[in-house]
């Protein structure tokens, strides 16, 4: 079981290295979406500072959702997913390996560039720190929930948009607590409570999401 997990994780990391462009693109997508807002909203720094946490989080949601839409898609199209379902290993373990690989190559970089974007919006040092911690706790939840959506919409036409419809509502609590944490720091309340809630959410998602995703995959592949 552990070996299946490791095998899948390693395979997906190798694949990610082979098509490095994919994952760098996610980060740039994140950066571009965040940078679009000042262009739409106008350059007043006070407004921008207020909306910064919300904007960064919404961009993270979108980046995660977009890249997750294809988490299983390639495997489905070329038949390797069929083979994984037929492998003598619990599917949920395989799923967990894939999700972890995905987060390592696409979630972690978001966490790392977020402070730079925060600087552009003139966020203070404390707020930046909380932003990073919140993203670090929140992005794996996004990946885990997103995997369920991706599995459910597998092979449906227009999956990309459908997946967003399914999972964006589920992402909302993460958005609320994540951006809430940053705002709370900025207004001096302290982010402790928000962050603990995110941690609890992560734990729950880790326990249930792989199992739900595996079930969804089996349905989709029929």
């Amino acid at each position: 079981m552990l070996s299946a997990f490791r095998t899948v994780l390693r395979r997906d990391l190798v694949l990610a290295m082979r098509r490095r462009a994919d994952f760098l693109t996610i980060v740039f997508f994140f950066i571009i979406v965040v940078s679009l807002f000042p262009l739409g909203v106008g350059p007043e720094i006070d407004t921008l500072r207020t909306i910064a946490p919300g904007v960064v989080w919404v961009a993270a949601l979108l980046a995660s959702m977009l890249s997750l839409g294809r988490l299983f898609y390639n495997d489905y199209m070329d038949g390797t997913l069929e083979q994984m379902v037929l492998a003598p290993q619990p599917l949920s373990v395989i799923v967990l390996g894939k999700v972890l690989a995905h987060w390592l190559v696409s979630g972690i970089p978001l966490v790392l560039v977020a402070p730079i974007l925060g600087l552009q919006f003139d966020l203070g040092g404390d707020a930046l720190l909380v932003l990073v911690v919140a993203l670090f706790l929140g992005t794996p939840i996004l990946s885990l929930i997103g995997a369920i959506g991706a599995a459910l919409t597998l092979g449906l036409r227009g999956g990309g948009v459908l997946v967003s419809l399914l999972i964006l509502p589920l992402y909302i609590p993460v958005l609320v607590f994540g951006s809430g944490a940053v705002e709370a720091t900025a207004s001096g309340i302290g982010a402790q409570a928000h962050l603990s809630l995110l941690g609890a959410g992560l734990f729950l998602a880790l326990v249930f999401a792989p199992w739900a995703t595996a079930a969804a995959l089996k349905i989709s592949i029929e």
């Binding site: 098509r19 740039f28 940078s35 000042p38 106008g42 350059p43 007043e44 921008l48 003139d122």
Partner: protein
């Protein structure tokens, strides 16, 4: 006469040795101009700008990189257009070889600008027209590079990137003006580019560094193109001969 030469050297087999010969010249020129330019910058230019302190010396990197980043994009698009018109492989290779340097300069312009902004404006970044359009230019470069590396077949990659460069170059002025207008409608009240008049020694320093970067760009692009030629033509007889002769 000139025409014959042009087509002769647009074939990879004859371009390769020619490029090999000129690369060291450009590299040396770049190094010498760079050293002289920085000397002027640090020892000849007025020691202290009364408003900004030593930090203003960043200008000697900042302005040349900003200029070059814009200039290289245009050159890249020209090569791409030439590739479409004459259908020469070499043109596409040149366009592709220029992109990473352009992206590097755009990044450096952003970075030095941000470093400079902190002491002068008190913030790393403002959403000013010039800054924003430089940022977008950086994204355009990244898009170009990402597209090139996402396509495996080199011929297809070259042509797709060429097309993208052309579409991009049409859009660059549009983007520039739109952003300019956007920002002037909401000019931030306190923060404005510091329009200190330049002394001659400053101007000389900046120009020297710019030329140095220019030659650096040419040298690096030629080296990249040489590598690319070798990789793509590795099955041809002239490359085999080259390897045989032990020149490489």
């Amino acid at each position: 006469m000139a025409k014959i030469n042009w087509f002769k050297y647009s074939s990879p087999a004859s371009f390769y040795p020619l490029a090999g010969k000129v690369v060291p010249w450009f590299a040396w020129l770049a190094a010498i101009l760079g050293v002289v330019g920085l000397y002027v910058a640090f020892f000849e230019a007025p020691l202290k700008d009364y408003q900004q302190g030593q930090s203003y010396k960043i200008i000697f990197i900042h302005v040349p990189t900003a200029w070059m980043s814009m200039f290289i994009y245009v050159v890249m698009a020209l090569w791409a257009a030439a590739g479409m018109v004459f259908n020469t492989r070499l043109s596409y290779m040149m366009a592709k070889a220029l992109a990473p340097t352009g992206a590097l300069f755009a990044f450096l312009a952003l970075w030095t600008g941000a470093l400079w902004g902190k002491p002068t404006w008190g913030t790393w970044w403002v959403w000013d027209a010039r800054l924003t359009s430089e940022l977008i230019l950086f994204f355009l470069y990244i898009g170009f590079i990402a597209l090139g590396s996402a396509i495996e077949d080199p011929r297809r990659a070259a042509r797709a990137c060429g097309l993208l460069a052309l579409v991009g170059v049409v859009n660059v002025p549009i983007i520039y003006f739109s952003v300019l207008w956007w920002s002037t409608l909401h000019q931030p009240p306190s923060l404005k580019l510091n329009e200190a008049t330049m002394g001659t020694s400053m101007l000389v320093g900046i120009l020297l560094v710019t030329f140095s970067l220019w030659f650096y760009t040419i040298a690096v692009a030629l080296v990249r193109v040489r590598g690319e030629i070798l990789e793509r033509e590795r099955d041809t007889s002239w490359v085999a001969q080259l390897i045989h002769e032990g020149k490489e």
